[in-house]
Homo-oligomer: 222 residues x 2
């Protein structure tokens, strides 16, 4: 079965307050995005790796790759307005009807074991989404001044890589854009397909703040 | 209006894998619990401060206070089986029908502004619970193999201090223990009272892992 990963690195880094897009921030001296690409290359060097970057960052990415002597082969494409459009642009590079993983470019610590688990389960169940328990109590806003407690033990935080039958993801991306769908699992559910959950990893953090970067450094040091 | 805070520090520290209860771990050389107590003392030196500790830790706490020359006045009481029972033991020390805040002993970075906001809103609305947005996509398990996406923009992570009319919290604690209620807000809702939400603080983290401790050090350094 042919397999691809689309690494989505569309963020502008605005939350860091600095001019560096967060996928280019350095973790142990190497850009976050390099870590994420290497994680998939390490898992399977024959995997098709597609990286989606905002158009204004394409040039600096090639400069960064040279500076860091980063030679892992990958295809590059420009992102769109929202994540949905970026994934769609990435999918245009997938020529097969095998399996496709969509991964956050800023989750540098994903393990080969987790990538394998996601592809394996997607091979059987058509979808595979890694999830972890949620540590805090959660409430749901119902309306003005109204909210309700959710049963914490029934909640899961969603991670990536989210893996799908390529044909399934492709048809999900043909439906109209909806801003309330914050991951690919919810996109695919719109086609009527059931989402299959697998165990994620606590280490597989999304680096979206300077604090997360410090945490990632710590996790690597362990 | 008379006011008290119950600092709940019942955890055994098992998640750190070490013998030190997590509330005694050092943040910038000072036990976490000292930071939390000081935050409330700084807000209002006349506030009644009640600290609930597991019975086996009461002795080492007094040793720690001497070693760190920690002299902020507080009342001490032994915790119970679960958080519910610990809060109930703490409430037995509250002599008034004013306002009571319940705060995690391992949230050392709570600000005076947040404490004030919670007490103020509880004075008007009978309850005040600090909440912050949730950064990851969340799914809810419905049953075997079934789950559904929740609308992330409607979700909030719950923090402490959770503030209540003392009489309200007292009557909530008279109802039978239920393991599914993971915070005091859900306890109080059982009485029929509506829970009022206020803006929490990203900095107001709960330190429950060695990684959180590193993050707290970083937040303090900023």
């Amino acid at each position: 079965l042919e397999r691809s990963v689309i690494l989505v690195a569309g963020g502008s880094g605005a939350r860091f307050g600095g001019p560096t897009p967060k996928q280019f921030l350095l973790l142990q001296g190497k850009p976050l995005l390099c870590w994420s690409i290497e994680a998939f290359y390490r898992y399977d060097p024959s995997l098709q790796i597609i990286v989606v970057l905002p158009r204004p960052n394409l040039d600096s990415w090639s400069v960064l790759c040279k500076a860091h002597r980063f030679h892992v082969p990958h295809e590059l494409t420009a992102g769109g307005q929202e994540r949905f459009h970026s994934v769609r642009n990435g999918m245009a590079h997938v020529p097969h009807n095998g399996l496709v993983a969509v991964h956050d470019g800023v989750r540098p610590l994903v393990s080969s074991a987790l990538i394998e688990r996601c592809f394996d389960h997607a091979g059987t169940h058509h979808t595979a989404i890694p999830v972890v328990p949620i540590s805090s109590s959660v409430r749901q806003i119902l309306g003005a001044g109204e909210s309700t407690a959710l049963l914490r033990s029934a909640l899961r935080a969603v991670q990536t890589p989210q893996c799908f039958d390529a044909a399934l993801l492709r048809s999900a991306l043909e439906l109209p854009y909806d801003a309330s769908l914050t991951d690919e699992a919810t996109l695919v559910e719109r086609t009527g397909e059931k989402v299959h959950l697998v165990d994620g990893e606590e280490r597989n953090i999304k680096v979206t703040s300077a604090q997360d970067l410090v945490l990632a450094e710590q996790l690597l040091a362990q």
